[in-house]
Symmetry: C2
Subunit: 201 residues, 2 copies
């Protein structure tokens, strides 16, 4: 790189640093966030699990309810079970809802899982609550969106609530502080690769 | 819900189950994936950390090199340090590159971190390698994209490699098996909320 290029690079980095400093100076607030991971791409649950890991590492207590996963042994379960004082991990699903073919039973399961989430939201010792795949349950009207919104909007001010799953309802997106839409650019399922440990479960 | 609605729902679920079964029947292959998390939205690193957790939970060995994070105590570091037999965790950055204002030093750091990634890719005991924020380093031409591509394309067949960061180079996206573009719908920084433990670090 020439001297002129080096100088241009330095100047660019100086401007970037100044811009970043200005942005960060205005970020002073701390609050419990309502976080939504939606979209057809992979990474919605994985990113929530990553946040759970970060929270555990800071000594925070976390509650995790999985609305779809249940019977299957997952990698996340094995790790979180090693931190019983920091994570209450509840896989309360029975697979995807089209696998059960029994709407009344699906609704009963969704209700039981949601009751657990509400309990965690109310628990003052719990700093973060993950309702994994709750959007799928909302999509099929197994729980009323209004009831979910009322509970998360009434959460304690410093409590983080993370909700994942495709097709997040508009009202939930509107209420949220942090929303990421995971867009699928490429997925290995499309080229015949099956679900693999460490990646999908 | 009326009986007719129940019947329609059941029929819809039956069709969905049949469609899923057909898709899954064609997914028989296992392979080491090249995974890229890019985009401006939050969740790129978090989703990679979630995959690391899943892999650890299945007893796989994982190598993690962070190209940007270094000095700061992160939640992920505290958790991964609890699994010394399963994770080699190397935070090798010094903050964002505009903070150092020293291009030669940034390049030296990027090179040292990349050498560590190459070592992990070559290590047969390591099932998954995460090169966190490598795209940022590529964006500033601190490492040649061709060299990175050559190394990941020559990886052992069952090894997963995850690369994160904004502005993934086109050649990397083209070579990858799984690419998610994290699209920012809403970010709390925009409304004055600062980086919080459990969420950003």
């Amino acid at each position: 790189m020439s001297e002129a290029d080096e100088a241009r690079h330095s100047e660019k980095m100086r401007r970037k640093q100044a811009a970043q400093a200005k942005i960060m100076a205005n970020k002073t607030q701390e609050k419990g966030l309502l976080i939504v991971h939606t979209g057809k791409g992979k990474g919605k649950t994985s990113a929530a699990l990553g946040m759970v890991v970060r929270a555990i590492g800071h000594g925070m207590k976390v509650g995790v309810v999985q609305f779809v996963k249940g019977a299957m042994a997952t990698g996340e379960k094995a790790v979180f079970d090693a931190f019983p004082d920091h994570v209450a991990f509840k896989p309360m699903g029975e697979g995807f809802t089209w696998d059960t073919q029994d709407r009344a039973r699906d609704i009963a399961h969704a209700r039981a899982a949601w009751d657990e989430v509400k309990r965690m939201i109310a628990d003052p010792s719990c700093a973060m609550v993950l309702a994994d795949e709750l959007n799928i349950v909302l999509r099929y009207d197994y729980l009323p969106v209004d009831e979910v919104l009322a509970a998360v909007n009434a959460r304690p001010p410093m409590k983080h609530v993370i909700i994942t799953g495709r097709n997040a309802p508009d009202a939930l997106v509107a209420a949220a502080d942090l929303v990421t839409d995971m867009v699928m650019v490429k997925h290995p399922f499309r080229s015949g690769v099956k679900a693999q440990k460490g990646i999908e479960f």
